[in-house]
Subunit: 106 residues, 2 copies
């Protein structure tokens, strides 16, 4: 993960979702493929993800610019995955686009 200091800006996409109780194997395949695909996109800085046993989960991806986020959102294979997400993978989700103001770690 690159630092959000100096001239290096960083943006985060917070994707909060509730999984529908179907298509577990197919979901895993598509989700893994999206991580793989996102990782190769321009401006990608990292991703982290967690899901509770009840199906609620959070994925945060980090990007160099808002344009990089827009380009990823419009990627053809990602658009197809988004459609599957609305049709069968998720019962609900929320997306928040954020500018990282500062960070620290332990």
């Amino acid at each position: 993960m690159k630092p959000a200091e100096g001239t290096q800006q960083m943006f985060a996409v917070i994707f909060s979702s509730k999984r529908a109780e179907t298509s577990a194997e197919e979901y895993k395949q598509v989700a893994d493929r999206m991580i793989q695909l996102a990782s190769g996109q321009k401006g990608f800085l990292g991703v982290e993800s967690a899901r509770n046993p009840d199906g609620s989960g959070i994925t945060v991806s980090y990007w160099q610019s808002l344009d990089d986020i827009k380009n990823w959102k419009l990627h053809s294979e990602h658009l197809s995955a988004q459609q599957q997400g609305r049709e069968k993978f998720y019962s609900s989700f929320k997306v928040k686009i954020c500018k990282v103001e500062r960070q620290y770690e332990f």
Copy 2:
């Protein structure tokens, strides 16, 4: 969750952590108490959390202002919990303070 539109600003604290493999019951008590306590703080807008079976997790809390985030960070009972976090609950964590630029949901 209030919208981040018009004059309503919203800030997010992304807390990514790896649990140490100890103090499970005590951790749950402190974590639950921190959610309860945060929910009563000025400017608190919401919180969501998820953890994987391997102990990695993400908690995102939402606030009206950076000052609200700072005040919560300096809350005496929260300071004590943060110390416990570094001493025994987490093997590592990262914190990112973000400004929510826009959001949408399904």
